[in-house]
């Protein structure tokens, strides 16, 4: 009871304070929105919210899926080969050091008009790094005894990977995936906001900005928060299913 009541009460108090702030200052809608404006804004643009929300969602998930494939592949390569790790690591760190917001305009210009493509691309580029690093660290720190118990029986490298290395790396992988899903979501929205005549919640936000339609902008923020939470908890559920055993370890 308390676990549910306390957060809900806090949220209600926060919304009341927000409503009061706007009312007290007498801000019009082209200056600031109040919580009571959000409902009508959602209702007015409900079809756009659904279709653009879907755009944002699938682009984020597509980018994340590519991230998983590429990140795991890179991580495996670096985890198994010391030489390739020494070669690739500095390159990856350099790439990761570039604030991704600066890549957004570059990509949106190179692939101008291809909204789906460049949005998925930035979601991927922004989010594969933590996955690659965590998988490579997980694999390269595998204690040699784990390998030896199977190697001594004549198991192939592939079998050792499937039976031991991969499951043992899953907790690290999901830790990274939680970071990656948030990053991919940021990437998608950055591109949707910047791309001219785009689609997605980011584009809706941008059109709200252009028209000083604060109720719409805040409604988009709420929708993004909801979508972000849903994505994050999807990863959490997957983690419970596939790497729940690690949870018991830390207890």
């Amino acid at each position: 009871m308390r676990r549910i009541a306390v957060p809900i009460l806090t949220i209600i108090l926060f919304l009341l304070f927000w409503e009061w702030l706007v009312w007290f200052n007498d801000w019009p809608n082209y200056k600031m929105a109040s919580p009571s404006d959000l409902g009508p804004a959602f209702w007015k643009y409900k079809t756009l919210f659904f279709s653009f929300g879907w755009d944002t969602l699938w682009r984020t998930v597509a980018g994340l899926l590519i991230s998983i494939v590429v990140g795991v592949a890179l991580g495996m390569v670096m985890g198994f080969s010391k030489l390739l790790q020494e070669g690739l690591y500095p390159l990856l760190i350099g790439f990761n050091a570039i604030p991704k917001a600066t890549i957004v305009p570059i990509l949106s210009l190179i692939f101008i008009g291809q909204h789906d493509f460049n949005t998925v691309l930035i979601a991927f580029l922004i989010s594969f790094f933590p996955i690659a690093v965590s998988v490579s660290i997980g694999l390269s720190t595998l204690e040699p005894e784990y390998r030896d118990i199977l190697r001594a029986l004549g198991a192939s490298k592939l079998k050792i990977f499937w039976k031991i290395a991969l499951p043992k790396t899953l907790p690290e992988f999901f830790g990274a995936l939680k970071v990656a899903v948030t990053l991919a979501f940021i990437g998608t929205n950055l591109m949707e906001i910047v791309s001219p005549h785009g689609r997605g919640l980011g584009a809706l936000f941008d059109s709200g900005k252009t028209n000083s339609d604060y109720p719409l902008m805040f409604a988009v923020l709420i929708a993004l928060a909801v979508l972000g939470i849903v994505l994050y908890y999807c990863v959490v559920v997957l983690e419970r299913i596939f790497a729940g055993w690690a949870d018991q370890l830390s207890r």
Partner: protein, 259 residues
């Protein structure tokens, strides 16, 4: 049967080649149980890797049951100081792991029965559905022993398996080990730091010299019984203990002198 014939082995290090084993020869008869003791860092673990076929000796040969070891083979079981159980599997599934690698014609039921038989022998029957994290160190090591024996290997290699356990748990596991030896048939080589352990478990104790290790001394323990700890406190056992301690002292002094 395990035979080491004039085995020499080297590691490459920053300062060139480092000799680990020097002309090492010893043998463990079929269904025998030998212990290797020696100063730390003398190359004892290298011996286990060579037998398992995880490394090839530079010189000499290693023969298991008449066949020279060239590469890993499935008739071997191994257990280390670290029990390396897979945390995402329960104990039963952990014990059954080698059966997923080694070629065998067992049905799934037979595999489970075999695993349960071993778990019963080491007193872990109630824990087959537990995760490794729910078990104590001694229990994990028991499970690790079951895993090393599940595929009925002809040779069992134990690399300081009880080194990380407290003294009481360790003695418990010595008795467990002897119970396993009674019920299962395998040729066993144990690497250990503990002289009492070597006397209690093994039929013959081999003392390795300091690096590069060679067979400095060996002695048969000639025990009467295997099933209680009293035999460690007989005059015969004290004598063995003194002889072995003296030999290890010699090995250590030789190593110091070489440095």
């Amino acid at each position: 049967m395990i035979e080491f014939n004039n085995v020499s082995h080297y590691f490459s290090s920053k300062n060139g080649e480092l000799q680990v084993l020097d002309n090492l020869s010893f043998s463990v008869p079929k269904n025998g149980f030998s212990a290797i003791v020696g100063p730390s860092g003398c190359g004892k673990s290298t011996v286990t890797k060579l037998i398992a076929g995880l490394m090839k000796p530079r010189k000499g040969s290693i023969i298991l049951n008449g066949e020279a070891v060239q590469s890993p083979r499935s008739n071997i079981g191994m257990a280390f100081q670290n029990p390396v159980l897979l945390e995402w599997r329960n104990i039963l599934k952990n014990v059954m792991l080698p059966l997923e690698i080694v070629h065998n014609k067992l049905s799934n039921e037979e595999k489970v029965d075999r695993a349960r038989e071993l778990l019963a022998l080491v007193g872990l029957s109630e824990y087959e559905n537990s995760r490794p994290s729910e078990l104590s160190g001694g229990m994990r090591q028991r499970a690790s022993l079951c895993r090393s024996l599940i595929h009925r290997p002809e040779v069992l290699i134990l690399d300081e398996p009880f080194g990380a356990l407290d003294a009481f748990t360790r003695e418990d596991l010595w008795l467990t080990m002897n119970r396993l030896r009674e019920k299962e048939s395998f040729t066993c080589l144990i690497i250990t730091h503990d002289i009492r352990e070597s006397i209690f478990l093994a039929d013959e104790v081999v003392v390795l010299s300091g690096r590069p290790a060679t067979n400095q001394f060996s002695i048969k323990t000639e025990k009467e019984s295997n099933d209680n700890l009293d035999q460690l406190y007989t005059p015969h056992a004290s004598e063995l203990l003194n002889i072995l301690r003296e030999q290890i002292g010699i090995a250590r002094r030789k190593e110091m002198a070489d440095k």
